[in-house]
C-alpha cells in the first residue's frame, strides 16, 4: 500500500510540476480571492485583520476544491477510473498518494496565501507552533475529505457542481477548527486552540481511515 501511495503521489506531483496548474492558475486564483475579500469588506483594516483566519481558510478551501478536481481530471478525460483500475495499484495506496499530492500542493498555496494575508490584511504572526500544526492538520483533513468525495464524483457528468456540494458541508468542522486555532495562535481570541487541534486530529483520523477502507469500493463500483 505505501509503495503504491508513493508511486501515485510522486506521479501526481510530477504531473503538477509539468503542467504547473497550481502555480499558474490556482495560486493567482487564491490571491484574487483575498483581494475580493478586501473589496467586499470595504478595506476595513481593523475588521480584516480580525477575521483573517477565517478568510484564509475559506480561500484555502476554495483552492482545495480546485486541486481535487484537477487530481481526478488528470486521470484521463474519459473513463477516469479505468486507467487506475487497470494499473493494478492498491486502491488504498492510490488514495493515500492522491491525498499526499493534494496536501503538498495545498501547503504550497498556504504559504503563498499566508504571505498574501500578511501583506494585504496586515496581520501579525505570533504563536508559530499552533499555527503550523493546525495548518498541517487542516490541510490533511481537507485533502482526505476532498479526495474521497472527488473519487465519488469523478465518473459523474455533474462532477464540477456536485463536488463542492458534497465537500463543503463535510469539511465545515475543519474550517471551524482551523479558524479557531489560528485565531488563538494569532492572539485574536482567548480560546484554547489546542482543544480545536484535537478536533482537527479526530477529523483527519476519521477521513483517512474511511478513505483507506472505502477507496477500493469507490474505485470499483461507484
Amino acid at each position: 500500500m505505501w509503495r503504491d501511495a508513493l508511486l501515485v503521489g510522486g506521479k501526481d506531483l510530477r504531473v503538477e510540476m509539468r503542467s504547473r496548474v497550481t502555480t499558474t492558475q490556482v495560486a493567482p486564483y487564491a490571491i484574487l480571492v483575498l483581494l475580493l475579500f478586501g473589496f467586499a469588506f470595504d478595506q476595513n483594516h481593523t475588521l480584516l485583520s480580525r477575521v483573517t483566519p477565517g478568510l484564509f481558510w475559506v480561500a484555502v478551501l476554495l483552492c482545495a476544491l480546485l486541486s481535487v478536481q484537477r487530481s481526478f481530471a488528470v486521470e484521463a478525460a474519459d473513463g477516469a477510473r479505468d486507467g487506475l483500475r487497470l494499473s493494478g495499484l492498491d486502491p488504498a495506496g492510490v488514495f493515500l498518494g492522491k491525498v499526499a499530492a493534494v496536501a503538498v500542493q495545498l501547503a504550497a498555496l498556504e504559504v503563498i496565501l499566508g504571505v498574501g494575508v500578511v501583506v494585504l490584511f496586515g496581520t501579525d504572526l505570533t504563536d508559530p507552533g499552533l499555527l503550523v500544526l493546525s495548518a498541517a492538520a487542516a490541510t490533511v483533513g481537507l485533502a482526505a475529505a476532498g479526495v474521497v468525495y472527488g473519487m465519488m464524483a469523478a465518473g459523474l457528468r455533474v462532477r464540477e457542481t456536485l463536488l463542492p456540494l458534497l465537500v463543503l458541508p463535510v469539511v465545515a468542522p475543519v474550517i471551524l477548527g482551523a479558524t479557531q486555532c489560528w485565531m488563538a495562535a494569532l492572539g485574536l481570541s482567548a480560546t484554547d486552540g489546542w482543544r480545536w487541534l484535537i478536533l482537527l486530529g479526530a477529523f483527519d483520523a476519521i477521513y483517512l481511515t474511511l478513505g483507506v477502507v472505502g477507496f477500493a469500493t469507490l474505485l470499483e463500483e461507484a
Binding site: L168, P169, V170, A172, P173, G177, R195, T217, E221, A222
Partner: protein
C-alpha cells in the same frame, strides 16, 4: 399494486391527521402560554418533534446504508429505505430549521442565532441535501446505491465531531440556547408536547411508507424493462443462442 396506498397507509394517514389535529388543538387552545416566553413557547410543540423526526430519518438512512454495504445483508431493500428516509428526514429538517429560526426571531429578534443544535441541524441539512443530489446521479442503480450508501455512512460518522465542534463553538460565545431544558413544563404543556411527538411519529411513518413504496415501484419499472432488453439484445445478433441460456438476472423485486 397500483399506487402506493393500501389499508395500512390509510390507517396511518388518518391517525396522523387526527394526531396533528389533536396536537394543534391542545397546543394552540388548551395549553397556557409560558410565563417568560409568552405565546412563543407554543413552538415547543413544533420544533422538538420535528427535530426528533429529522434525526430519526437521518439515523435510519445511515443504518440502512450500513446494512446495504455489509455483504451479508446486502439487498436493494436497504438502499430504498435509505433513500426514502433521507428524503423524509430532509423534510423534517427543514421544518426544524424554520421553526427554530422563528423561535429565535421571537426570542432575540434575529432570524438566526448560532445555537449549537440548530447549527448542527443546518450542517446535517446541507450534508443530506448533497446526499439527495448524489442519489439523482449515475446510471447504474447498483453503483449509485453503493456510492450513496458510502456517502451516508461517512456523513453519519462525522456527526459526533460536528456535535462537539458546534457545542464548543457555542460555549465560546456564550450564545443563546433555544431549548433551555425547561423544568417547569407540566400539565397541559407537557401533554401537548407529548401529543406533538406522537403526531410527528405517525406523520413520519406515513410519509416513509409511501416514499418507500414509490422507490419499489421505480425499481419494478426498471426490472420489467430488463427482460425485454435481454431478448432484444439477443435478437440483435439474429443467431441461435448457445444451449444453456443465461437465466434472468437481477429479478429481485421484494418489498
Amino acid at each position: 399494486m397500483n399506487g402506493t396506498a393500501d389499508r395500512v397507509t390509510r390507517v396511518l394517514g388518518a391517525a396522523s391527521l387526527v394526531a396533528v389535529a389533536v396536537t394543534a388543538w391542545l397546543g394552540l387552545v388548551v395549553s397556557p402560554p409560558d410565563v417568560t416566553q409568552g405565546q412563543l413557547v407554543r413552538l415547543i410543540y413544533v420544533h422538538p418533534g420535528a427535530a426528533t423526526a429529522c434525526y430519526a430519518g437521518f439515523g435510519l438512512c445511515a443504518l440502512a446504508s450500513l446494512a446495504y454495504l455489509w455483504p451479508r445483508t446486502r439487498s436493494r431493500r436497504w438502499d430504498r429505505l435509505a433513500a426514502a428516509s433521507a428524503e423524509v428526514g430532509v423534510l423534517f429538517c427543514a421544518i426544524t430549521l424554520v421553526s427554530g429560526s422563528i423561535w429565535g426571531r421571537g426570542s432575540w429578534g434575529v432570524w438566526w442565532t448560532w445555537d449549537a443544535r440548530l447549527t448542527l441541524t443546518a450542517l446535517l441539512f446541507a450534508v443530506f441535501v448533497g446526499y439527495l443530489a448524489l442519489r439523482r446521479t449515475g446510471g447504474d442503480p447498483d453503483s449509485r446505491a453503493r456510492r450513496c450508501a458510502i456517502a451516508a455512512v461517512m456523513a453519519a460518522v462525522l456527526v459526533p465531531v460536528d456535535h462537539e465542534a458546534t457545542t464548543w463553538w457555542q460555549t465560546l460565545h456564550q450564545g443563546n440556547t433555544l431549548l433551555r431544558s425547561n423544568p417547569s413544563i407540566h400539565g397541559w404543556q407537557l401533554v401537548s408536547m407529548l401529543a406533538s411527538f406522537v403526531a410527528y411519529a405517525l406523520l413520519f411513518s406515513w410519509l416513509l411508507v409511501h416514499r418507500y413504496r414509490v422507490e419499489v415501484l421505480e425499481d419494478r419499472f426498471e426490472e420489467d424493462g430488463f427482460a425485454a432488453a435481454l431478448m432484444e439484445r439477443r435478437a440483435e445478433g439474429g443467431v441461435i443462442a448457445p444451449a444453456g441460456v443465461a437465466p434472468r438476472v437481477g429479478a429481485e423485486v421484494e418489498l
